[in-house]
């Protein structure tokens, strides 16, 4: 690797009119019977919800394809406004800002071939985004999970709630701190 990388900087507090887009969390085609909900809260090291974080998700399609598909940010052809997905194509990409109570939610389809959804977190105060994974089930043979002690491992595994809903809280710091990843 010969080219020196461009450094990261914080997303800051004012990305709200630029990065979030309508139906950014509606990754599953509209009304798809296999739709699951992945949701949770982002907390800081004082235990307070983070109301200005941005959560992005990326995952394979149910058939295991990792090619993704364009069309997350479709435009109204008349006004040019972003109106989001067409409710048919599965793009694999989700982007949602946290709400005033730190909550976010993505409705998607189960990923094919793996048991996790990749997650990136951006926030004011965070100078470089963080990666983690939301495992829909605790995968016994998973190399990453297997290398963690049980308490830390638990931070990567979602908690099943009502029908097809999975809870995944992200704790940036302190007690119960989420495992964050560095890709080599």
């Amino acid at each position: 690797m010969s080219y020196a990388p461009t450094p990261s900087q914080t997303v800051g507090p004012f990305y709200g009119y630029a990065l979030p887009f309508p139906r950014g969390g509606e990754v599953a085609p509209a009304g798809h019977p296999d739709t699951i909900t992945l949701h949770g809260y982002v907390y800081d090291g004082a235990g307070n919800p983070v109301p200005d974080a941005l959560v992005e998700t990326w995952q394979p399609a149910p058939d295991g394809s990792r090619a993704g598909a364009p069309g997350s940010l479709r435009h109204d052809p008349v006004t040019g406004e972003v109106i989001g997905r067409d409710g048919v194509a599965f793009t694999g990409f989700g982007r949602v800002p946290t709400d005033a109570d730190g909550h976010w939610a993505v409705r998607t389809l189960p990923p094919g071939g793996v048991s996790y959804i990749a997650v990136a977190v951006f926030a004011r105060g965070l100078l470089h985004h963080l990666y983690t994974r939301a495992y829909l089930v605790d995968e016994p043979g998973d190399a990453l999970l297997g290398a963690l002690d049980p308490a830390r491992r638990a931070t990567l595994v979602t908690r099943p709630e009502a029908d097809r809903t999975y809870r995944f809280d992200i704790r940036l710091q302190g007690e119960g701190e989420t495992v964050f990843l560095e890709f080599k």
């Binding site: 080219y3 900087q9 100078l127 890709f183």
Partner: protein
């Protein structure tokens, strides 16, 4: 672990400068800012205290990434001066450059997003209460796809500097926020581009959080007279290199 307190409110610029110097002296060499950076007070409760878990797995989903195409941008999205009925106030500029990976290969057909304050230093965001005028003809965000050479180009106006409450008399140097995608989710980048020769560089803990001087310089665009259009706009060039492994790097067996 007992909670520690962030640096107090109301520090002077000189006191923040002292904290910047302390952080600079203790920083490990890195291209990226440390997430634990006390002079940027908002970071205090928002960085993980546990080390990141290294992961080197050629099968990782994160070595692939989202795709974008003609449905995701319009030709007008790259011109921030044409989003309203009238022309925005300010100095019209173009910002152009290339997006590359660490091998120097162009990142093709990927999404570049930017957002910024207006010429007076005010964001079109309800939480920005800086008493500078909003511009009814400027929102301040745009997007485009990179071309076959990794090239991107935006037309906008030069943003103004603005105050913030990190410490007393804290001012951010003029900057444009950028969001970039590579071929892999691991290459995701959100950053800020600065303008050459800004006198506020030395006072800004966000820029100074990049503790390596040469890395910091890579956040500053270059004035490029050949990119200036006669009687129309001033041209700036800024090339971007995305960090992080990708599937193609693994395929080629490169040293990671």
């Amino acid at each position: 672990m007992p909670l520690t307190e962030p640096l107090p409110d109301g520090l002077s610029q000189q006191e923040i400068d002292t904290e910047v110097a302390k952080a600079q002296a203790s920083a490990a060499p890195s291209d990226h800012p440390p997430r634990d950076y006390p002079p940027y007070r908002s970071s205090h409760f928002r960085f993980p205290r546990q080390p990141l878990i290294p992961l080197s797995d050629p099968e990782a989903v994160e070595l692939s990434g989202p795709a974008f195409g003609v449905t995701d941008v319009t030709a007008l999205d790259r011109d921030l001066t044409r989003q309203h009925i009238g022309e925005p106030l300010g100095e019209r500029i173009t910002v152009s450059g290339r997006v590359l990976d660490r091998e120097g290969r162009p990142v093709r057909g990927q999404l570049v997003e930017l957002w910024q304050a207006n010429a007076s230093g005010r964001y079109a965001h309800q939480l920005d209460q800086h008493p500078a005028p909003l511009d009814p003809n400027f929102t301040g965000f745009g997007r485009c796809l990179t071309d076959d050479e990794g090239g991107y180009s935006f037309t906008t106006i030069k943003p103004g500097a603005y105050p913030w409450r990190n410490h007393v008399n804290a001012w951010r140097p003029a900057h444009i926020h950028f969001s970039l995608f590579g071929t892999a989710f691991t290459q995701r980048l959100v950053t800020q581009m600065y303008f050459p020769g800004d006198p506020l560089f030395a006072y800004d803990p966000v820029l100074r959080s990049v503790t390596d001087e040469s890395a910091r310089q890579r956040l500053v665009c270059a004035y490029d007279h050949d990119l200036s259009a006669p009687e129309w706009s001033l041209g700036y060039r800024w090339d971007i290199v995305l960090d992080g492994p990708s599937a193609t790097l693994f395929e080629e067996g490169d040293q990671l």
